[in-house]
Symmetry: C2
Subunit: 511 residues, 2 copies
């Protein structure tokens, strides 16, 4: 291991202990800890885990809501070379049990409040022989008592920053979730990039109001941690609580989306909370008048294309203020290509799978060797998503590329044709499948649901496609139905294949 | 090599070709090139070098002033896994010849304008069997003609970003300079950190007005390149030229210090140049009225502690707005410790050598194995500089720690005592040496030059020290002299040792 150039998350915490000892590292309810205190607590937690046999590569699961103890768990794992995995606390007992059986943890931190019942049921459903610590138990077996009892001092183990430190479960359509293993480097460097575009620094006070089992909030948590700023935790999204915390802690940033903005404006209708410390992108007048405009590149154009397997963003919308593409341009840490199913780069303007290389790419999936091998074919991370490089170099994200139709030599992604047909004013919903064709291999078929009281025939749908996408992608046949079969929120293409005779798809579908 | 997570400087250029094809990458005189054109030129230059036998680890020297061709040389080296070294064009023929003999280059890019005579003399002094290309030769043997003749297309070699790509010669007191080998990772990641604190992005237009054989300018060149911004090159610092370029190119940043500011204000006394695009930290009213305040953290407090061996900054002053220490706090990519000569960390408030770990630390010195081994003792980069960690975690840089006096068990750094004595109002200059002492090993002796017409005796000097630094550091004897012997600008401590009986220093002096 190259110690001279190493910088693990544990090293960064040690450095903050030295260089930011008196700075507030985290706030959670009535508790607040400086970086020195945080490091002390993380050291004691590390020793608790060590005593329970947690070693390099072992899993520590978090079965709770947002809390400073979640960050402590991550950092203790970091100091041991272990892997920390915050599970989705909205999952059912069965779903939690699946993740427990899959992850095979050596230690589990769990929460009684709100989700104690699921957690206990999940534990009963698995035979996992792990140390279970209730993080909100104030008694002698609880998290705080164990910290008090634990050995102090840094465990002082050498940890390679190339090792995984975080496992985030990510949904798979129609299957079990799988965990992306993300390395120290990925968290730290993505944090650096995000800090730049979101203008996060040592003076930032970030309200962790989005769930930390998702990468979206986690990126900014890390940006704040990297620079020695302050992370404020709240267990769940509750409009009035967010207002109160922003006011009390003078939060400069928060993860707040959509309807929550409106709820916060309503909760603060009488102006009892001062939200002026919060830099926020512009939404609507009542919100804008309570907050401060976010002048960062992110504030001017938030978002980009990303996924859990990339520790979040691979392209940044703010790098495409002048661009044709909807999702900006690649982050400086991401090499991005658009490729055909053989992995060959396609020309600008053509659709293909988005593949990525760089230091923020995951190290692999936990126990999904076959899927992992497919995803890293040719040493590029295959996102399973469809995108397009525009002539000006910018990127447009189209949608999941799970299915592919091959007609003659042409690759046709159903999602692209579906997007086109859905834009027809008469169409409420649609799906596209491939049907075996003796001459062309496959031919494109569309299954369309029309809007109530609107008419359109097959020819109109085909003409619409011809006008907007390459001619070879247009459907050869169109069927009209009352509704589409679903699996969760997603259209069940397999059911449509069975009903309308779809098949002949090339290769295996990407995971 | 781990291609999935790789990102070399060549990869970054390839990505810019794709994602920023039409963006201006560099401007030099009347020439300007987009990122696509820059990549084309770098590919042709790579093939020129390949044809001359340049391979992995081989050296390419730059013997010229600032130019877009310097950046091209670096990037061509990057694509080949070679090492690019821009020499100090102010060096004499003998100094250049030393570097040529030391670096043993396979290719040399040199300049006729202004420095052709030294370059030719240096070449004659060495037997280096290298390809010499005059970059400002418009003829058939010159740089441009060779690019035209060269094979196009990307050489498409796999280059590990852990390899060195840049060699910067750095001065050694009283000896030959040695070259720090800096890796792709170091350039790229330091660029990212600098882009954050200097607020450099895709929209930045950076005037490379400081010399690129120094790391100070190079850091921002890389910050600009990392985000796909525009680098503007000018061969040398000339006030009116800088004004003209800032006006014509709407430069947002520049490397301008001290007297140049005043010269630029004079050159622009009639306001013929519009410098309002330039973000600059505040200096004096006439300058401030011509430029725009730099609101970045750097603009509020520029600088920090760094050195060539660290690809520049290891601490950032802007992270210490509230701090006791003069040099802020460590950059997020640097672990910093203050250690005693045995490598043991000293307590806050005590002086010791600054040592650093992290991804921006050099990979080693070119052909200086013994020095390199000393510098990386215990897997920490030993800077050879003296610093202090303050109680609030911030860092104060004191000065070079080359000499150490050992009195009883105490380590005393002469530079620290010298700084203290020099602050006495009667003192013009001073130096501190260690003299062998039968009881204590060594004792501290001060040699002092008083200001004209001012009186002070030894007791006053000793009392002054007792009041400001630890008592054991105060001089036991004080000699008054008319002037101090010098070697260049630095006091010649060896000469003082000989004259005043200094000696008994512990171990070897750090390089």
């Amino acid at each position: 291991m190259d110690l001279l150039h190493a910088l693990s998350l544990g090293d960064l915490l040690r450095e903050h202990r030295r260089s930011n000892p008196l700075q507030i590292a985290c706030v959670s309810g009535d508790e607040r800890f400086t970086y020195r205190e945080l490091d002390d607590r993380v050291n004691r937690l590390s020793h608790t885990f060590l005593a329970a046999g947690v070693g390099r590569g072992d899993r520590i699961l978090w079965l709770g809501q947002n809390s400073h103890r979640l960050l402590e768990g991550l950092l203790a794992a970091a100091k041991l070379g272990a892997i920390f995995s915050p599970l989705n606390w909205r999952w059912s007992a069965e779903e939690l049990a699946f993740a427990l059986s899959d992850a095979m943890p050596t230690a589990v931190l769990w929460q009684q409040d709100e989700i104690g019942e699921q957690a206990r049921k999940a534990r009963a459903l698995t035979k996992a022989d792990a140390l279970w610590i209730q993080h909100d138990d104030p008694g002698p077996e609880g998290y705080e008592a164990r910290l008090t009892d634990a050995e102090p001092g840094d465990p002082a183990l050498e940890v390679d920053p190339g090792l995984p430190v975080l496992a985030l479960y990510t949904g798979a359509f129609g299957g079990h979730p799988h965990a992306s293993l993300l390395g120290h480097d990925a968290l730290l460097l993505q944090g650096l990039v995000v800090s730049k575009v979101q203008d996060v620094g040592r003076e930032s006070i970030y309200l962790n109001s989005g769930p930390l089992f998702h990468v979206a909030t986690f990126m900014t948590t890390m940006a704040t941690f990297v620079w020695g700023g302050t992370n404020v935790f709240t267990p769940r999204v509750e409009a009035e609580t967010l207002c109160r915390l922003i006011d009390a802690e003078r939060c400069t940033g928060a993860f707040v989306v959509g309807p929550t903005l409106q709820q916060m404006v309503e909760a603060n209708a009488d102006g009892r909370y001062d939200l002026s410390s919060l830099r926020s992108f512009r939404a609507f007048p009542a919100w804008d008048s309570m907050t401060t405009p976010d002048g960062s590149p992110w504030g001017r154009r938030p978002g980009g294309y990303g996924q859990t397997e990339l520790m979040g963003l691979a392209t940044l919308s703010c790098l495409g203020m002048d661009a044709t593409g909807s999702h900006g341009r690649p982050s400086p840490l991401a090499q991005v290509r658009i490729v055909d199913p053989e992995g060959v780069e396609v020309s600008a303007g053509e659709s293909g799978e988005i593949v990525v290389r760089g230091p923020t790419v995951m190290l692999g999936y936990w126990r999904r060797d076959a899927l992992e091998a497919r995803r890293r074919a040719g040493d590029w991370h295959h996102t399973g998503d469809l995108g397009r490089r525009e002539e000006d170099g910018s990127i447009t994200f189209i949608g999941p590329a799970a299915r592919l139709i091959k007609s003659a030599a042409e690759n046709i992604y159903p999602v692209e044709v579906e997007r086109c047909i859905a834009a027809h004013p008469a169409v409420a919903e649609c799906a596209v499948i491939g049907k075996p064709d003796p001459e062309w291999g496959q031919r494109v078929a569309a299954i369309v649901v029309l809007r109530d009281g609107v008419e359109a025939d097959a020819e109109a749908i085909v003409e619409h496609c011809r006008a907007h996408i390459a001619s070879y992608k247009k459907p050869r046949e169109v069927a009209f139905v009352e509704s589409l079969p679903k699996r969760g929120f997603a259209v069940d293409h397999d059911a449509l294949d069975r009903r309308f005779g779809g098949g002949g798809y090339p290769g295996a579908a990407a995971g």
